[in-house]
């Protein structure tokens, strides 16, 4: 399989020069997720502050990924998408949006984009938890589902 041909130009662009990678030392929330089947791991760090309207926004976001080309590219693109967004809007993100932003993913690599969305949910969940905020029902549910997904097979 030719690696460069299997992926879109945008995927390769993000892979070659990933945006927002690294660690945030005093992060407000950290999400760690792994795909149990392929073994890839993603860690997302977020820093939260308030915008002028007093709404909480994701002021900064960084990622660390142990994974394939698609995992690195989806990690990079999700940081682009949610940086500066309100938490409310960030939680609306779907894997389809990531895939579209990357100009498509090979079918077998769709799960890599799930990893990115899961990572974001987990980071926000972690922030709510750490700051002792009330966790919305849907986020609690998503968190449980993610834990289930992470557990399988490992």
């Amino acid at each position: 399989m030719n690696i460069a041909e299997q992926y879109s130009k945008l995927v390769m662009k993000h892979f070659k020069k990933p945006h927002n990678y690294g660690e945030i030392k005093n992060a407000d929330g950290i999400g760690t997720v792994g795909n149990p089947v392929c073994g890839d791991v993603l860690k997302l760090y977020i820093k939260i502050s308030k915008n002028k309207k007093g709404k909480e926004i994701i002021k900064d976001i960084k990622f660390q990924t142990f994974g394939c080309i698609a995992a690195i590219a989806t990690s990079s693109v999700i940081t682009d998408i949610v940086k500066g967004k309100t938490i409310e809007d960030a939680l609306k993100i779907k894997k389809e949006e990531i895939i579209k932003k990357l100009g498509g993913l090979p079918p077998i690599k769709v799960h890599c984009s799930v990893l990115a969305v899961d990572g974001l949910y987990e980071a926000i969940y972690d922030y709510y938890k750490k700051s002792k905020k009330e966790i919305p029902f849907f986020l609690e549910k998503a968190h449980k589902e993610i834990l289930e997904r992470n557990k399988k097979e490992r």
Binding site: Y21, G22, K43, G67, C68, I72
Partner: protein, 386 residues
């Protein structure tokens, strides 16, 4: 950008000497070797010359060589052909757990059709367990099939010992020599081999042609039925240009093996030594008893497909046993069989050398690999731990 090809276990460039000889069998000598006119006769002669050259390389007689469409067909023919020819004697077959997919899938198919298969495990270097082999042999065992050298990790199996055991127990012995044929010495007589598979495109010959050595007097059922070509064992009009090219490729291998082996081994060792200088890296396969052209290493904290992706950007063509590059998402069965954890198997890199690689290329590669590894480790969440 200049490209460097280090995936010679996947396939090789056709040697210009091979291509040159093949050409006229497309344009002038295009007869069917089964025809009685001069066109047919010259094609027939060319095939027989090739047969002899190939037999020569492994110390066989030329009537023991059957041309096929490649390694996959040879392995299918050997295993299915022996299974069906001997099913009244027994239905038990032993293979190693690190065989190529075309052997594993063949025995899985036989299993569905009433045969019993035992899988022989390997040690941490990928060497089959000889004592265990003896214990797996049963009264109804008809065939042992163990590869000569592994395509992923390059480990060379003790086929001489296996041949002796099979001879003692009066069991047929097949070896998949696709990766070793033409690269290291093979003597079917000395090693007591009954069947041996080889493929042309791994030795700088054309794709789509290979052969099966079948020791004289061995009963085998054909899997392709038709016009009775290849001693009735493999019907179908012969791929004359392919066979001519394969023969030439084998002839060159025989003539140049000694020097080539030394030259390529030197580049291999340079690669290995330099790669192992990178922290948290290991060599997969046997440190000494390995193919002269195979390097297989694992890098902790990074994933193979991503590594291949960066090397590709540097113009270096390599391969991996990582899950992420395969269709199944499971890491290579070979790397798991030698006891690597899925994480480590995930970060594996295979570099395989060939006739056209140069020392200069290797010098470039050993400069670029640490760069690629460093780049990916900088992205990895495990970075802190090393």
């Amino acid at each position: 950008m200049k490209r460097i090809y280090l995936d010679n276990a996947a396939t090789t460039k056709v040697d210009p000497r091979v291509l040159n000889l093949m050409k006229k069998f497309f344009t002038d000598k295009y007869g069917n070797p089964n025809s009685l006119h001069s066109f047919g006769i010259e094609a027939r002669e060319a095939i027989e010359i090739s047969r002899e050259k190939i037999a020569n390389l492994i110390n066989a007689n030329s009537n023991e060589i059957i041309f096929t469409s490649g390694g996959t067909e040879s392995n299918n023919l050997a295993i299915k052909g022996i299974a069906f020819a001997n099913k009244s004697k027994g239905k038990h077959i032993i293979v190693s757990s690190i065989e190529h997919h075309c052997v594993l899938e063949t025995v899985h198919w036989l299993e569905k059709n009433g045969f019993k298969i035992s899988f022989l495990d390997v040690d941490k270097y990928g060497v089959v367990n000889i004592e265990k082999l003896k214990s797996l042999i049963r009264r109804d065992t008809i065939l042992v099939s163990i590869m000569h050298a592994n395509n992923e990790i390059g480990t060379i199996e003790p086929i001489k010992e296996i041949g002796e055991i099979c001879k003692d127990y009066n069991i047929l012995f097949h070896t998949d020599a696709v990766q070793s044929f033409g690269k290291i010495e093979i003597d079917v007589k000395k090693y007591n081999i009954d069947l041996l598979s080889a493929s042309s495109h791994k030795i700088h010959g054309p794709k789509g042609v290979g052969c099966l050595y079948i020791k004289e007097g061995t009963k085998i059922e054909p899997i392709l039925h038709g016009g009775g070509q290849e001693f009735g064992i493999r019907s179908g009009t012969e791929n004359v240009p392919g066979i001519v090219g394969f023969g030439k490729a084998a002839e060159i291998c025989k003539k140049e093996m000694k020097n080539e082996k030394r030259r390529i081994e030197k580049m291999r060792d340079k690669l290995i030594n330099n790669i192992l200088n990178i922290e948290n890296t290991r060599l997969n396969g046997h440190p000494k008893i390995r193919l002269p052209n195979n390097v297989n290493c694992s890098f902790e904290f990074i994933e193979g497909e991503a590594l291949i992706g960066i090397l590709n950007e540097f113009g270096i063509a390599a391969s991996t046993g990582s899950a992420c590059s395969s269709r199944s998402l499971k890491p290579s069965h070979v790397l798991l069989a030698i006891g690597l954890s899925p994480e480590i198997a995930h970060g594996s890199l295979r570099l395989t050398l060939g006739r056209f690689n140069t020392e200069k290329e290797i010098d470039y590669v050993i400069k670029k690999i640490p760069e690629a590894v460093e780049k990916l480790r900088n992205l990895s969440p495990y970075k802190k731990r090393w």
